[in-house]
Symmetry: C2
Subunit: 258 residues, 2 copies
């Protein structure tokens, strides 16, 4: 099948994942680092929350019965919350307890042997939503046509959702990349200083994505060192060892060393 020799990294999330395909975005940097080893499948859906993602995830992630025909997802990143954390009354709002339950449900879909989507070789990393800079965000809302004059997100509410991801990570024993704390610390714990990393108070610029990529690679090194790019085989052999004859025995079924 197309690319069937390469396993994959699936990046599941909202606009923060979708936007990671820009230069220096974490999707681009992963595709570069895992070149010839793992394919990077970007599944970032702008505006989505952890409730809306279920019917989509059920379509995009292989059922165990389909698994023989598809590449293994060696790593699944799950990054939601920026939309779930909109305040009550907003269309995208998901209550905190429901948000945490949804994240746990996603993890269980992949991890539980009884699940239709059970995928024992899939490692999971959760991300916390980054902090929102309401000083920038209200300007973005006011600039819309028609202008929106009321904030739909709150600095401390998003912080609670970030803490919720840390709870889920502990409960489910899933590593967490805490982008909320990372950016808040990098901004000197000053909401206004987040403008250094946020294009509009909510979305990330290239400098921010560089930090996200470095934090993800650190999480991979610490939790799943066997799939760090330095530890993987190239699926196809280097040209120096190929020749015009038969070298297919050198082809790996997967970049991951058994």
């Amino acid at each position: 099948m197309a690319g069937y020799v390469q396993d994959a990294i699936m990046l599941l999330g909202d606009s923060l994942t979708q936007g990671g395909t820009i230069p220096y975005g974490f999707c681009q940097q992963l595709a570069d680092a895992y070149n010839r080893k793992l394919d990077v499948l970007v599944r970032g859906l702008s505006g989505y929350n952890t409730t809306w993602i279920f019917p989509v995830f059920e379509k995009m992630f292989a059922k165990r019965t389909e698994r023989e025909h598809v590449p293994n997802v060696q790593l699944l990143t799950i990054w939601f919350g920026a939309n779930d954390a909109t305040i009550p009354g907003e269309q995208q709002h998901v209550p905190l307890e429901q948000y945490k339950a949804n994240l746990s449900k996603l993890v269980h879909m992949v991890r539980d042997p009884s699940s239709e989507y059970y995928s024992p070789e899939t490692r999971i990393i959760l991300f916390t939503p980054p902090p929102v800079n309401t000083i920038q965000w209200i300007e973005e809302l006011r600039s819309r046509d028609p202008p929106k004059t009321e904030l739909d997100r709150d600095f401390n509410v998003t912080r609670q959702y970030a803490e919720g991801v840390l709870e889920v990570g502990r409960k489910e024993n899933v590593p967490v990349v805490d982008t909320w704390a990372m950016f808040y610390e990098a901004a000197g714990r000053e909401e206004k200083n987040l403008a250094k990393y946020l294009t509009d108070g909510l979305h990330l610029n290239a400098e921010a994505y560089k930090l996200v990529y470095n934090a993800l690679m650190k999480a991979i090194s610490e939790n799943f060192p066997d799939i760090h790019p330095d530890k993987l085989n190239m699926v196809y052999p280097k040209w120096e060892i190929v020749n015009n004859g038969n070298y297919m025995e050198l082809l790996k079924d997967s970049a991951v060393r058994k």
Copy 2:
């Protein structure tokens, strides 16, 4: 299956394709432009020539019998020649006539109804190899350990291989992105000026990849407008039209409008 709802663009080639995953590389820019529409499968194998690629392509491209389980490759780019054009005696050298025959064979594998790899929905675009700047390249070779003191590539030989691709394109009725002419013109038809686009006399920098991406998008617009990103559906609906109920009927089997 993983990503089974999204069809793909497969980028087949050598180090010039493999290197396109850098920021502003054509692989990154395609992944960004086709976000939520088509997956970009980078199949650039550094050092490979059009002879060595066959056993690999037979593994990475779906057979017609496997097609039901896999995403359709809506676009296949084929970009070889930088290594085939090494001078006779070099390990990577492929004679010009053989190179042209190999490119035609790749096209026929995908296009011929009698082929095991027949894929009628796969559009094909060929690329010519870029010009080599031997003034830079000999310095690169001399800097190696052990140093190589003789050039393994020649400016006019690579030009002949580029012309060979144009011939194959005419013969097989396949559009060609002529990177050789594009860079030579951009360099004012001065070999030494190619240093503006080449890192070492052979490989492309970000400025060069921006030109490659623009030329590819122009070729798509002119030859296959139905798969220009502006003409494609998003596979998953926009968040504004989803809700907590059932919206799976909005899911597209493919981004390509039937």
